[in-house]
Symmetry: C2
């Protein structure tokens, strides 16, 4: 099997057609979609990783909480259609009803607007067994058909991987940029680099990198130890010239609040002060 | 927005056409693909979760190691095209070359055959930016175009979610069944239930459930504590009538071996004795 010069993947023949970012469809990328008529969003920031289970959803939610505490109008768009987490973290439950003006997101206890496929399902554990292009289309509808009203910040929680949904979000939403989440394993580092390179190929700025799960504190003796070896977050940030935003330990208390739908009660100075300050510093428009 | 009776997701109009499992295409599901001419596989077992980052790849690899130690011919097929982990865990590196007979998988130090998209790439951190249907097609090629030779067990490491790749694997590979991996968070439990329900819809048996990351042992004081709250693995197993195969703690030593490409050196009685015994017990054919 020969290397295919288009994609470097070696799966000759498979990489043709409209399925790849290098194809004609992608070169003449679709126009950005217009947000819902009754809505606006000054800043749209997506949280990505490439790797699953590194805490994208909790980082997305904590970012939203941090900005909300500073008084901004904030929304979160759950772009993980087959593994949606945000309603559970914020303790909101559907199903929601549509109106002639579009779908109305649910509001969390502090007033963060939440939209997720799970808010449209009768049962939260019902699977969404859809092929990728449809997944991307639904995420587009969460932008065009949801009455967000006027937001200062919309945070988009991406699924793992570099497939349909991240591609559709990059092509069709007016992103200010990405926050990248990594974890200390070398394996995660490799996969996160794929996501960073995808953002570069698509010309979307990366606003910063957060290393999650960098260690854990023993509740008995107070010892902080590494769960997954030494982290590489700062190293990756340096090598790609990305701002390193900080490290987060695994905190059983955060897991507990997430399971209870009370993530807004979690106190993290990183998200309350440091990160909003860092992102606001870029001229108010991220 | 009205509920769509086909899928229960409420995104009216979006669920039509060939993208959903309920569509005509899926009802008349494609024939199973024939394995490569020079190969056979007595048992094909996929490892799934729905949720990312719960350890599907390490469970897949440890299963493979457990069966290999018992003397079986074993292969691992990395179906996670946008987040491939297996080459790193087994310490094998591409790029591999094709032959007129197909692609030859690489062999790990104990003789496990490994196939992954990363073995076809020049650089392991290069992203694969493809839409879903293509991802499913490549996984099919890993079955039809790879010279596995004669295997007793082929383990398939699925990506997170319930989208294209799990769907294609379920439709086109002759699976004996799934091993489901969960982690203790309630959030993971909800998403894992989606995956279990997908397997049920597709009529694929679930051979057992493993709860990963069920706790961690402090290296200083030896205290074992819960990282993510109490697990729900046994409860989920019972409610779906699935065999509960066991719990695995987070083990920094396993992470280290994974990062070094030496997962085969990891000792786990669960995988060396217990699980092969359990799966063999089903009449030798899983």
């Amino acid at each position: 099997m020969q290397q295919d010069s288009n994609c470097g993947c070696g799966t000759k023949g498979a990489c043709e057609g409209e399925n790849t970012v290098n194809s004609e469809e992608s070169m003449h990328a679709p126009e950005k979609l217009a947000i819902n008529n009754f809505s606006s969003a000054k800043n749209v920031i997506a949280v990505m990783s490439g790797k699953g289970g590194v805490g994208k959803s909790s980082v997305t939610s904590l970012l939203a909480c941090g900005f909300r505490r500073k008084g901004y109008e904030v929304g979160v768009l759950d772009a993980d259609i087959t593994g949606p987490s945000l309603p559970k973290l914020f303790g909101v439950k559907g199903p929601i009803e549509g109106t002639p003006f579009g779908m109305h997101p649910l509001e969390s206890s502090t007033g963060i607007k939440v939209m997720s496929i799970n808010l449209l399902m009768e049962q939260e554990d019902e699977p969404v067994i859809w092929r990728g292009p449809l997944l991307g289309k639904v995420v587009g509808q969460f932008w065009t058909d949801v009455v967000w009203t006027d937001l200062d910040y919309l945070f988009v929680d991406l699924p793992p991987g570099t497939g349909d949904v991240p591609l559709s979000v990059m092509q069709s939403l007016p992103l200010n940029g990405f926050i990248v989440v990594t974890s200390p394993q070398e394996l995660a580092t490799m996969i996160v680099k794929k996501a960073i390179k995808m953002a570069q190929i698509m010309n979307i700025p990366i606003l910063g990198l957060i290393e999650n799960m960098s260690g854990v504190i023993c509740p008995k003796c107070g010892e902080e130890f590494k769960l997954f070896g030494p982290g590489h977050g700062e190293e990756v940030s340096k090598s790609f010239n990305i701002k390193f935003l900080g490290k987060l330990p695994v905190d059983p208390n955060l897991s507990k609040l997430c399971d209870q739908g009370k993530i807004e009660e979690y106190e993290s100075s990183l998200f309350t002060d440091f990160i909003p300050g860092q992102l606001e510093a870029k001229g108010g428009d991220v």
